[in-house]
Each structure stands twice: as structure tokens, then as C-alpha cells.
Subunit: 253 residues, 2 copies
């Protein structure tokens, strides 16, 4: 499948590499910053451009750009055939308006960092099309890069994205809080690596509700008070209190 | 090493099994509820009792009981020789007062659920002793069940426990929030398994500060507002706002 990638960030990079690795032809990388477009294009040994008027013909245009830029890029895009898809969790399919005959969404549910390889076989991709035929085609394309292709409406995808923010982005932030705290105690964050991994592995077989442990789960108010007294930042004390209260209420009412 | 385990909950069970598997002799299980003491004792093919006056002689007494019960059990405990240790993250070593000649702490840093086997080789155990000699002995005992034995003062251990609550208990609660949200969208929580695992695996090689992604990291206010509008519970909206604000401030100031 001849594919043009718009964007050169983390999602663009990982998708471009995976598409290429699975036999699709990346014909061009577009990015408004020529250096970024060039860097990714070189990695893939393909062409690049930094103006939408220079876009090549392709079967699939993947808009792997920031949610904020999406509307203006669609607006400036010439009307060309092919399927146009964005990759955003929280942007409705209707962002494309009625400019193109075939459009949709190609949403890989994963956290991409440039320096960390990911195995696409493990990544669910949720697609949506402007009609059944487009949805079917996108589902098939997704199936060429992952066994975990699925369909999701814009509404479902938005909820999925919020869920992912809680489970992934916010958990990672809590890891950061823990790292800061260990640093202040003169201890290495490495100490927590096995515990963090075990916590994530546990819910592969137990439900998170079953896997919950800790002072709030037991409503152990003495320990919770000691912890609050230990936390220096009032903002983090607040986070500690509120999450603990929600856990306690869920399990001890 | 002849060992008595006080308690029959998750920590007691996992410790007892690991001690036995590594060649220590569990001579007795104590629990104030005879049925619980008996159940664990049968699993280990050893004796049990439900009264502190019936405790056998041993080299090591492990108080794997709830933080709340610890003080009263120590109070009621007959003065017997051997090393007395508790397993609590947030309880000072001085909870033992001056009742025993040898006492300390034996704190395994892990989340234990009864139905989930853990590999002790991966679990750090932090010890503290009432003097250097006891600390050294406890360090050596810890070394028989894990290559990750370490020393921590009561103050360090408390901070470590708080850090573990943020990184593990609270992350697990966020998984629960995500599971609820997916359920409301008619989707299975399984969808998030790979993402959650990848998030935990990422910080084994990157620092969590480097690994942070998501709308708050990018200060993408449009997406964050969409997410807030999607969250039904005011309490979870609050959690979403506050964690997002802390992330935004950290990365975008």
C-alpha cells in the first residue's frame, strides 16, 4: 500500500517503520519543518516534503500530527484521492468534514517514546471509517501490522483515550513522584522496578479491583496519616488524600 | 534457621513459603484466629497456635501482622530470646521498645495477593537491626531468600513505603478507573493490558521523567478539556485535573 506519512514525531516514526517493515511502501514524509521530515525520510530511505502542495499520490495518507495542528492541516490539504486517516485518540472522525471521499481514523493504543522500540504485534489499533467499506479497508490494513485490530466509534475511542491517560500517563507520573521521593531519601529508583513491573503484570491475570492492596485498601488510617506527614509537597499530600479516600470508599463501605 | 511466623495473611503466607523453600524451618504459625493459623500451618506441614503463651522457641520471630495489631501483640508477647522482626513499611523499629535484646525489621518491598505467586529472587528486602550485629544477621537472612537484600533506616523505609504506595497501590487504582471507563464504553479492559505493561517496562530502562507522554505532558489543553467533559464522576474529574496540572507544570514551565 502506497502510504504518505504526515508528521515526524513519535507516532509518525513508529507507524512509518512498522508499515515499511510489513511490506507497505512509504512514498513520502511530510512535515512543515524540513529538517524533521528529512531526518525521518532518511531513516526510511524515502522522499520528503515540507509543503502540502508537493504531496505525492498515495493510497493512504496518515496524519500523525498533534491534535492541535490537525484541523489546520486538513484545511490546507489539497483535495486528493486516497484514504485520509488521523491517529488521534480524542479527535472525532468528523474533523475531516466532507473534503475527502474516503477518510477515517487509525488509532494505535500505545505510548510511544522515540528511544524505545515497541513490538506492534502487541499493540491494538482501532479504526473507524466514513462508511462501511472504508472501515473494512482500514481494518484490513491494521491487520497487516497487528493481530489486535479493532473497530471503535469516535465516542468509544475518546473513552479509551481517557482510560489510557489514567492507566498509563498518570501511572507514569506517579512513578516520577516515587522517584523524587526515593531520591530525597538517598535511595535509587531501581529499587522500585520489580514492584512496578509486578503491579502491571498482576492485572494481566487478576482484575485491578481484585489486585488492589495498600493502606487505603485496608482503611489503615494510622499508616495513611504517617504517610501524609512524610510528604513534603502540599499538592502531593492532596493527591495522596484524594486517591486514598476513593480507594477506601470503594472497598470499605 | 528456626522461624516462627506471627500472622497468616498475604505477607505471612508468602514469607513462610519462601523461608521454607530456602531451607529454613518454620516451626510454628501463630494467629489469634485458630482457623487461619491452622490453614497456613497445614499448607506448610507445621504446627500452629492461637495464643502467644504457646509459642515455641525459635531463632527468629517474624511479626507479619497488620500495623494496627503490632503494638498490642508486642505488648502481650512473652519475653523470649531470638530475633524479633516486624515486616511493616511504615512502623519504626522502636515499636519494640526495650522488651527484647535482639529486634529489627524485615521489610519485603512487594505487593502480595494470595492468588498470585511471586518470585522472591526479584523482591528487595530491607532490614534494620537494633544494633550492628543484629542488622548484619538480618541482612544475611534476607540474603538467603533474595539477592536484593538491603539496609534501610526507619526513616528511609517510611519514604520507600510512601513511594511504593504512589507507584504501586495508586497506579493499580488508576487501572481500576480505566477498567470502569472501558466498561461504560462497552469495551474490555484486556485492551489496555499491553499499554499498561509497556508503561511499566519503559521505566526499567528510561527514567519516568523521560518516559512521560500524554496530553498534559504536551500541555494539550483542547484534549484535556475533551477528557474532562467525558468523565462522569466529579471526583475523578478532580483527580484528572490535578494530576494533569502537576504534569503540565513540571514539563511546560
Amino acid at each position: 500500500m502506497k502510504t504518505v506519512i504526515l508528521g515526524a514525531g513519535n507516532v509518525a516514526t513508529h507507524l512509518a517503520e512498522t508499515f515499511q517493515a510489513n511490506g507497505h511502501e512509504i512514498v513520502q514524509i511530510y512535515n512543515r519543518t524540513p529538517q524533521s521530515a528529512m531526518a525521518l525520510a532518511q531513516r526510511l530511505n524515502t522522499d520528503y516534503c515540507h509543503s502540502l502542495s508537493q504531496l505525492k499520490k498515495a493510497d493512504l495518507y496518515i496524519y500523525a500530527i498533534s491534535d492541535n495542528a490537525l484541523e489546520s492541516v486538513i484545511h490546507e490539504m489539497p483535495v486528493i484521492s486516497g484514504i485520509h486517516v488521523h491517529t488521534a485518540g480524542s479527535v472525532d472522525i468528523n474533523v475531516f468534514g466532507n473534503k475527502f471521499g474516503q477518510f477515517g481514523v487509525f488509532y494505535p493504543l500505545q505510548t510511544f517514546s522515540k528511544d524505545k522500540k515497541v513490538n506492534f504485534e502487541e499493540i491494538p489499533v482501532f479504526v473507524e471509517g466514513n462508511n462501511e467499506n472504508v472501515a473494512k479497508m482500514l481494518f484490513e490494513i491494521a491487520g497487516t501490522i497487528t493481530p489486535k485490530a479493532g473497530l471503535a466509534t469516535s465516542e468509544q475511542r475518546l473513552k479509551l483515550h481517557v482510560a489510557a491517560v489514567f492507566a498509563c500517563n498518570f501511572s507514569n507520573y506517579l512513578y516520577t513522584v516515587a522517584a523524587d521521593m526515593l531520591k530525597s531519601a538517598g535511595m535509587s529508583f531501581d529499587i522500585l522496578h520489580p514492584l512496578i513491573l509486578e503491579t502491571a503484570e498482576k492485572i494481566q491475570t487478576l482484575s485491578p479491583a481484585e489486585a488492589q492492596t495498600g493502606p487505603a485498601r485496608r482503611n489503615d488510617t494510622t499508616t495513611m496519616q504517617k504517610h501524609l506527614d512524610t510528604i513534603a509537597s502540599p499538592q502531593l499530600q492532596k493527591i495522596y488524600s484524594e486517591i486514598s479516600r476513593l480507594i477506601s470508599e470503594r472497598y470499605n463501605d
